[in-house]
Amino acid sequence: MNIFVFGIIASFTLIVALAAATLPKLMHAALSFAVMFLGISAFFFLLGAEFVGLVQVFVYIGAVAVLIVFTILLTPHDVGNVRGFGWSGVVVAIAVFGGLIWAIVKTKSVAIAPSVAKALTVKQIGEALMISYVWPLLCVGVLLTAALIGALILVMEDKRS
């Protein structure tokens, strides 16, 4: 793995993430958010988890980002009010960031290089999912169904009113 490629991907991802967090226009932020996932999936490709990267792009860009822009369109807002900015949040975020960085730097055992490993095939993941993790898989299936129905009920127009 190349430190150069890593640097490019990391800086791209972080810049887009910063844009997603700070851009004043919600739609721009949402689109940056979608692009950010491209960077994250590039990370996954770099780390040898192609499948997760593809799933990430598939789910986030194909579904979650579309949902978010739909929601933005369905909730026309009063612009001036929503653009407020809480500085206390910045302080907290920086504090947490400081704490995390301090912990990472302090922990010597994480300063290791990756081992050489064979690429993970889709078949391996499929077998792991279907053999070792079949219960969680079923539970996630139930959860997704429940979330689907719950979301539908939440946004359903109330016919009575």
């Binding site: 986030y60 429940a146 979330a147």
Partner: protein, 102 residues
């Protein structure tokens, strides 16, 4: 490139998400921030799997896949709630959702 550099990147991503969730007034930003934090956590899972001793066991990958699925469900429900709340309050500014004020 070491594990710690990856962790620094994911920590940065996490804190950007936290910042988005804490500072922005629009409800959707909170969701975006949470999704960013989850993505940062996913990077950590994958990184620890890749740098760990047992690469042949795709545990970290599986956890990341489940996290993505659950995050998708969470996004769906969260956005549905945003729409429902918007119908009720006619705004998406979280400062004005204070009916639970003690």
């Amino acid at each position: 490139m070491t594990l710690s550099t990856l962790l620094v990147v994911s920590a940065t991503l996490f804190c950007l998400g936290l910042f988005a969730a804490l500072s922005r007034r629009h409800a959707i930003f909170i969701l975006i921030g949470i999704e960013m934090m989850l993505a940062a956590a996913n990077i950590n899972f994958i990184a620890f799997w890749r740098f760990g001793p047992h690469t042949a066991h795709p545990t970290g990958v599986i956890v990341a896949i489940f996290a993505i699925a659950i995050a998708a469900a969470e996004a769906a429900v969260g956005l549905a709630m945003v729409i429902a709340v918007y119908r009720h309050f006619r705004t998406t500014n979280v400062d004005q959702f204070n009916q639970l004020k003690g």
